[in-house]
Symmetry: C2
Subunit: 288 residues, 2 copies
């Protein structure tokens, strides 16, 4: 089977999500702040996983794209709220003003609120899927969104209350904040196929994938200059990451090991094509 | 059939929702800010409607209570975000500090986020309901939550940008901001029963009921002193209400007419018991 590489996929997906917003029956005062980060960039790694995993197990492409759009909107909305003055107080994102600085704070808060629920409407509105499978998918998605908020809250509490946390708490927090959504990306094609047991396994593996992704992200933040990534770097001195306990090389090894373990688990499940796909994006994930 | 009056119902329901939170598997850092307004008061009008309407058409009580809890959490979460500094900047609610002043702003934002999605988990987790009916219920609930955000956004834009809006725009905004959730309260028992067509009618009638409720609320805000209602009054000079166009008596007549029309429509649908119930709470809704 031929797969779109991440960069080609981005072009393909960007057209789809642009089209979705153009056809979305929603007032500009919500549509514009909600589409703003999406339009300004992003690797589309989450959509890419859903789309390619789903193709391997022959899921309807239209449904895969809809779920991918839902996840990208969720992800983007979480960035809108993360960036708020009371949370990360970020000024720049993807080389441009953050949503609250561009549109005003109350519009950023409400666009985020809307963007956390809209993805559920997309998934609840899928056609060509059995009622039972759809309910399972919606239920998984709801739990994913709730975990995302828990992880975000823990991350902020650790930092703002300067908590004395260990490696275990940090990895646990990563598994909610970043892992949960990747867990859903890995699981959702299998939920579509009604493979509930396998989906549960995929959810766990995807969560680990998300944890390694988050650690690679922490490492990049340290060695990258502001102008290269379009957001402020090193601004949170109390931010809790694995780098509180390990040096750069040691941290890199931890992330590598989790990543290798993810590939191995996919092969153990006889999903070699999925493992192969993730091997190919590894370089892109590790570097900018 | 015997119905619990609103005040007796409040006692009954308060125990149920307290119990729900005690058994909820959630960290205190989210549970406490989420339960804070709920614990501090509220008439429980929305839960009362769901519970009593549902009993009239013989819906499983456990399910009615779960939906009522979901709606009360949604309502309370909308108050948490409304009160934020960037939105209404409220200091007091129900005679005590607002959530962000009590727990800190980032916790208020994230507790609200959590509280907008948790209700959907409750509804998606209902037992003893056909899959198709549950999907319909979840879909209605999602649309209700999205409308709530649209209404909230419009209300804020009207005020903060001092928009020159007419009566029509204000009533339209009320129908989203306050009407949508009441529409869901009216419709949800019928959705449980698989009466999709009737639920659609009930949704419309409930939305009108919510609009009249909102107008009565505006009227109370003007003539009530701060100490009587436990929140600041008359603080938003640019707030857009029907009182921009009509005097107190005229506005009262508009709300009365909508209310009477709601009762009439219920009788037209041969739902005299429902109309009777709403007649009884009218005094409580009109006055504090």
């Amino acid at each position: 089977m031929e797969f779109l590489k991440l960069l080609e996929f981005k072009d393909f997906f960007d057209k789809k999500i642009k089209n979705f917003f153009e056809n979305l029956d929603l007032e500009d005062y919500l549509k514009e702040p909600l589409f703003y980060y999406i339009e300004n960039g992003g690797k589309r790694l989450r959509p890419w996983i859903i789309y390619n995993f789903g193709q391997i197990i022959s899921i309807n492409k239209k449904n895969l794209i809809d779920i991918a759009i839902a996840v990208e909107i969720l992800h983007s909305s979480s960035l809108i709220h993360d960036d708020l003055p009371a949370l990360d107080n970020a000024k720049l994102r993807r080389g441009a003003l953050t949503t609250h600085l561009k549109f005003g704070e109350y519009k950023a808060i409400l666009a985020g609120d809307y963007g956390f629920t809209l993805p559920l409407q997309i998934v609840a509105g899928l056609d060509n899927i059995k009622e039972g499978n759809k309910l399972l998918l919606v239920d998984y998605f709801i739990k994913t969104i709730l975990k995302l908020f828990q992880g975000e809250m823990e991350d902020l509490i650790f930092e703002k209350e300067d908590k004395n946390v260990g490696e275990k708490e940090i990895l646990e927090m990563y598994s909610k904040k970043t892992g949960a959504v990747f867990g859903f990306c890995f699981a959702s094609p299998f939920l579509m196929a009604g493979e509930a047991e396998l989906a549960k396994e995929m959810n766990k593996i995807g969560t680990d994938f998300g944890v390694s992704f988050q650690i690679f992200d922490d490492l990049k933040d340290i060695f990258t200059k502001e102008e290269d990534i379009g957001k402020e770097t090193n601004k949170d001195v109390n931010k809790k990451t694995l780098l509180n306990f390990y040096n750069f090389q040691e941290t890199q090894i931890i992330a590598d090991n989790i990543y290798i373990n993810v590939l191995q688990k996919l092969e153990d499940l006889n999903l070699k094509e999925l493992s192969q796909l993730l091997k190919e994006v590894r370089k892109i994930i590790e570097t900018r």
